[in-house]
Amino acid sequence: MPGLQKEKFIVPIGPQHPALKEPAHFEFTVDGETVTSASVRFGYVHRGIEKGTENRNWAQAMYLLERICGICSHVHSTTFALGVEKLAKVPAPPRAQAIRQILLELERIHSHMLWVGVAAHEAGFETLFMYSWRDRETVMDILETFSGNRVNYSANVLGGVKYDLGPAQTDSIKRGLDYLEERLHYYMKIVNSDESFLRRTRGVGMMTTAQAEELGAIGPTARASNVARDLRVDSPYLLYEQFPVTIVLGSTGDLQTRFVVRIQELFESIRVIRELVNHIPGGDLTVRFPRRIPEGEVVMRTEAPRGGLFYFIKSGGGENPVRVKVRTPSLRNFMSVLVGSVGHQLADVPMILSGIDPCFSCNDRMIVVRREPGKETAS
């Protein structure tokens, strides 16, 4: 029937979907099995965290913000603490900054290893998923030895950190990293050599350098497309000037390159953690921190495992923040999924989606209310 051929066939995915663990609604227009266009809608897990900080004091707000993401929790509390310390003009002591940096890099290791597992699972490579998550326990154990908690470490206080790097922690970090380094070399070999896996990753979800720039991609997703963008290098915070990292770049921008870039970043993280542990500055862990923060505004940017994290903090001179705005990295990478999936098979879409290491719940914070004459739109 010629009339039917002109109709679009839309495949809705989510917000409740067995393949996606987090809620988002995607609509893929398909021609046969090939995706011709895509759209996305968020907002199913809006938790009102930004507004919640306004009713809490500075210390309480930090713990609330730490819970924006379950995987990269430390980077949120560190970014907030760094911003507030900048506003109060009371920087944390160097030893505390070094400990924060060690934890940030350990967090990057556990986040990227989690992603390797998730992406392998989406590709149907369950063995890699199981083994990479088993080995991820090593870094979780290190974090537990360090802070007493596996996930939300709550290691920060405003003006320092709670936990020192003692002999037990140094020992567990050194032993753990030696094991992980060996395992990561093995995984690097697997993702580069397994025939069936390469067929699911090589040339899939391709994003050129120009596209990555245009779509505003950040983090390892952009770096796999040869965009040298890393806030640890571009605007160093903590001790990233004394203990720098090298940007890891890929050239092709497909899924396979993203695997390689992320695993190589872990070798960089391991190197930096070892340097920090061996040359950790001495001194106090905390400084006395005021309860009232002077009036002012500050923007703080850090490199989370998924890309640049942005915080805007405004103080009215009181014990509570007046406004906290957070922009998480996943939000900037979603456009690459919508553009990248066009022309691919529908079956490749979960792989392309997991290729940016998406974190859905982190995004759901923004509400735009457009007031036009006689019309109000909330999105």
Partner: protein, 140 residues
């Protein structure tokens, strides 16, 4: 390029012990020294500055003055609200709050075990009697 590149790993694993633990059966794994368990409170050292209560992100701590002039305080801890962030431990200048690394298995079928009172026995008893008889409490 090869197929089944992790096959060797899988075959080796057949002869290994499982990585998982059959909790709660069998020998317990050692927990790290810094494990954050249930908050412990030493009423003898407390001066009633309430800083732990002010900064608690989940309102889990209540410091109640039983006899304020004589510095007799008790703590009502809502274990089910606690997020184990240890901000109270950092805030306490007199080191009367700590976190146990042995008390961390808190599963229960009712809500009652999640409200814990700390303090001198006679103070806690006095407070509970007053609450039961409906006498209004001197709140901080």
């Amino acid at each position: 390029m090869k197929i089944g590149s992790m096959l060797g790993e899988i075959i080796r694993s057949v002869f290994r012990k499982p990585a998982t633990v059959k909790y709660p059966f069998g020998a317990r794994q050692a927990v790290p020294d810094r494990l954050r368990g249930v908050i412990q409170y030493d009423a003898e050292k407390c001066t009633g500055c309430m800083l732990c209560m002010k900064d608690c992100p989940s309102n889990a701590i209540e410091i109640i003055a039983v006899d304020k002039p004589n510095k007799r305080f008790i703590m009502r801890l809502h274990v089910d609200r606690c997020t184990y962030c240890a901000q109270c431990v950092v805030n306490c200048r007199f080191k009367c709050i700590s976190m146990s690394n042995t008390e961390w298995e808190r599963a229960a079928l009712t809500r009652e075990p999640f409200t814990v009172y700390y303090g001198r026995d006679e103070d806690v008893k006095k407070f509970l009697e007053q609450t039961a008889s409906g006498v209004s409490q001197e709140q901080p």
